[in-house]
Amino acid sequence: MTGLDVRVEALEMVYEVDGEQVHALRGVDLEIAAGSSVALLGPSGSGKSSLLTLLAGLQRPTSGRALIGGQDVSAMSERALLALRAREVGVVVQGPARNLLPYANAEDNVRFAQRAVPRDRRDRLRPPADLLEQLGLGHVRRSRLGALSGGEQQRLSLAVGLAGAPGLLLADEPTSQLDALNRAHVVEMLITAAAGGTTIVVVTHDEHIASQVDRAMYLRDGEIVS
């Protein structure tokens, strides 16, 4: 697995709410080497989630560029963005409900993610059962989603994000609802993925994660402060 490098140049994001301009990002510059892991920290509203969705290509910046593996996601066509996410970028957003099909079991959820991957790469992916086994979810691979605990659902979300063996994993608060044991599991998953070459960008409140990744960056009011 070859990771993708991430470069962000003067990224600005301004929303308009009720005639009031809200600056989510105020000119962020960032460089993440391929295969490294980065934690984005900061209070709610500091812009870290906005940064993540911009990298995922889910919205377009007001100005500036975001490059993943040298490709400018802020200027790509929708179709190219879809292809990029299918082939290269795993995204784990906040809340298991947004990451998982509610009516499918764990294995089917992983399979659903893998089916999006182009055929040439799909054949080399780990079978869902193996993947779940490795992530400590082997015992629930056939369980309905509703039967999984919150922690298991959150871990499954991360597993699904990693199912396509992406070059870049973007994860938003992957541990927010977890107890210590589950949190440790998740961190281990991230570390393992990073060790496999995947570049990791994780938004978190969790100092523990921050201490385990290669680099931790703090945002406040749309700017990187450290």
């Binding site: 009720d18 809200v22 509203g45 409140h205």
Partner: protein, 215 residues
């Protein structure tokens, strides 16, 4: 007035998980008690338990000399609440959300409108009262929730992350309002992971993995 609100050896098990474990906390009137800890440490659950929204598995929640729970009656008029997700009524305008508290107490129209307006001004929302909640930003909604919590001059004010989405200036304004409530003699309990908020508090209780780490 309620002289204190307390959790006594409270344990909460939700979905098989021990969210709170033997937590004992007492929040006295006239002070701000801050509950801090990382995400998932049980701050929100403790606030909900103190607000008698969440049933406790073991132990008890006590308001002064009364054990309370989700089935207790007559608590709502005594208590102001700010919840994560704000618990606002999206059907109503910002002002109406605030007024609702006073309307429910059966106050006369004029007083209802005056006090609601004052509360909104206090949190810095003088111009947005007539907007429907759905039209407000997250930060504005949060401030509406704070205004609503304080407008009824509650004896107990419980707030879960009341400043999470606010910028520094607004946060100070909201903190000022909360502080004023404590000075008025209310029991004020805040859950926060924001250091600057915790620093304002008279007492800080640190939770970790559902247990009281410090406090």
């Amino acid at each position: 007035m309620t002289r204190f609100v307390a959790a006594r050896s409270v344990g909460v098990v939700r979905a098989g998980r021990q969210v709170l474990d033997d937590v004992t906390v007492t929040a006295p009137a006239g002070e701000i008690t801050a509950i801090t800890g990382v995400s998932g440490s049980g701050k929100s659950t403790l606030i909900a338990a103190l607000a008698a929204l969440e049933p406790v598995t073991t132990g008890s929640i006590v308001w002064e000399d009364t054990v309370v729970g989700p089935r207790s009656r007559g608590l709502r008029h005594r208590c102001g609440l700010v919840l994560q997700g704000y618990g606002l009524v999206s059907l109503l305008s910002a002002a109406e959300n605030v007024e609702l508290v006073l309307q429910a107490q059966g106050l006369p129209r004029g007083e209802v409108r005056e006090r609601a307006h004052a509360a909104l001004v206090a949190v810095g929302l003088d111009g947005t009262g007539d907007h429907l909640v759905e039209q407000l930003s997250g930060g504005q909604q949060q401030r509406v929730a704070v205004a609503r919590a304080v407008v009824g001059r509650p004896e107990v004010l419980l707030a879960d992350e009341p400043t999470a989405e606010l910028d520094a200036a607004t946060r100070d304004r909201v903190l000022h309002v909360l502080l004023a409530e404590a000075r008025r003699g209310a029991v004020v309990v805040l859950a926060t992971h924001d250091r600057s908020v915790a620093d304002v508090a008279d007492t800080e209780v640190v939770l970790d993995d559902g247990r009281v780490l410090l406090g």
